[in-house]
Structures are given as structure tokens and as C-alpha cells.
Symmetry: C2
Subunit: 150 residues, 2 copies
């Protein structure tokens, strides 16, 4: 049983069709700085799965760090993914809220007992991400970010 306490929201994320355009509009309207756009790595690094199956899901990412939270903007660029599914079903919009967790396994077990299962997961250098399909219970997708210890 996870005893993880969710005290801070680490990130909020918007999925868009054109990340260059969205980044430019955010920077202009809110008077904030444009940051670089990166691309997620290939399957050999991410080992990503979507609905339990390996996926070559790729995305472009950029971040706007506000004082208290990071806004992430994602443009899916190939492969089945939670991002592409969201775009197809709902159009552009706020996709998830992310929390940093230490006890990932315990947290996933607790969510699983409530019928909230993993929708997509993958590795990145230094950590991993897991999206859980909490839409029916919490009204939105939750992302669990987990950093590996050095």
C-alpha cells in the first residue's frame, strides 16, 4: 500500500497539434521566454508501452517554467500514444497533471486496487513516466514521474 503523499503538482501539460505555434503564442501573450523544443527518444531508450503494448510513440516537448509549476507542451509525432488518442478524441487541450513520486510501485498498486490502470509508460534518461487512466475517477489523466537514484 502506497503511503505516498501528493503535496505538490509538478507539471501541467497541454497537448497541441503544432508546438512551434503554441510555444510562440504562449511566449508572446504571457510575456514569458521561449525554451528549446526537444524530441523524445526512440523505443530503444523509452521502452514505451501504450495500453500494455510496445509503442514507438514519439513527441516533441517544450517547457515553460513558472515560479511555482512547470507547464509542458507536447505535440505527438508518431506511434500510438495517450497524447495522440487525446488529440483524436478531444482536440487540443490540457492533457494531464503530473506528480513526482518516490514509491512508484506502491502508488501504482494503490491506483490499481481502485481500478485505475496504467495507460502509457516509458523511460527517459534519469527516470520514468507513467500515465494512469484516472479520467473516470478523477476527471483527468495523472502522470507519475519517478526519478532514479544516482
Amino acid at each position: 500500500m502506497a503511503d505516498e503523499k501528493f503535496k505538490r503538482v509538478a507539471q501541467i501539460c497541454i497537448v497541441v497539434r503544432d508546438i512551434e505555434k503554441a510555444r510562440s503564442e504562449w511566449a508572446k501573450l504571457l510575456g514569458v521566454k521561449e525554451n528549446p523544443i526537444s524530441e523524445t527518444e526512440g523505443y530503444e531508450v523509452t521502452h514505451a508501452t501504450f495500453k500494455g503494448k510496445p509503442t514507438k510513440a514519439r513527441a516533441k516537448l517544450t517547457f515553460f517554467p513558472f515560479e511555482n509549476i512547470v507547464l509542458e507542451i507536447i505535440e505527438p509525432i508518431g506511434g500510438p500514444s495517450t497524447w495522440q488518442q487525446f488529440l483524436d478524441e478531444k482536440g487540443e487541450g490540457l492533457h494531464h497533471i503530473a506528480f513526482q513520486v518516490e514509491d512508484l510501485d506502491g502508488t501504482l498498486e494503490k491506483f490499481g486496487k481502485e481500478g485505475i490502470d496504467v495507460e502509457q509508460k516509458g523511460d527517459y534518461r534519469g527516470g520514468c513516466y507513467t500515465y494512469v487512466d484516472s479520467k473516470a475517477k478523477l476527471g483527468c489523466i495523472i502522470e507519475l514521474l519517478h526519478s532514479y537514484k544516482e
Copy 2:
């Protein structure tokens, strides 16, 4: 021309069909406290408009204050509103990001010049809120919260 700088995200908001259920699930899964549910006031207090027309839009509200940000949960309970429109078009989900602004008129003027118009606005005791239809440019709705000076 607004010189407003958007440094902090004040709130993120989820629109749901059943606020009691959503509040209970959030509290249980994330190990956070349930707060009271309130109702927005009548038109005589809110003077709300939606797409330029007076509306008797009402909603139930509850809040989960995290360390760095407030999560708001809204259930629309009558009258045309941005919340009901969102539920009808997209289903439950993350509806907007809110910023606290001092220069509301200047900010709205700047948004208007970029083709981002007011979608809904209304008063509450001590301040007012304005939702701008920034979906096409920013990928989501922005709420501008403005507190009246004492």
C-alpha cells in the same frame, strides 16, 4: 497595452459531472483532505455573461490546495456556461489554467488584439473572473482572476 507578467499559475481546474464523487476520489487516492463544496451565487451577485449575453450560469465548486497551486473542481448546475459547454463537447477534463492579474483591462486589451476574446465573466465577493477563449492560440482556456482592492 498590458505589461502584466504571468509568473505564477494560480489554479488549475477540472470540470466534472459529479463533484461529490470526484472530491471523494481525489481525497482518497492522493491522501489529501476533502474541503467543503460551495455554490456560486445568483445573477444578482455574479452579473455573469457567457458569449456576451447575461447568463444564470451556476456551479458547485471545491478546492484542493496543494503546496504550490490550487486545484479547483467545478460541476456546472445550470445556465449556459463555459463549464457546461466543455462538458457537452469534450466530457470531463481539465478546463482551464488561472492566473491572478492586476491590470485586467490592459490584459484583456492585449488578448483582444491577438483575437482572444472574453468567453465568460462574472463577479464574486471581492473580485471577478474572466475566461478568455484562448483555445485556438494557447491550446486551452485561460482564466484571469482579479481581486478588488480593499
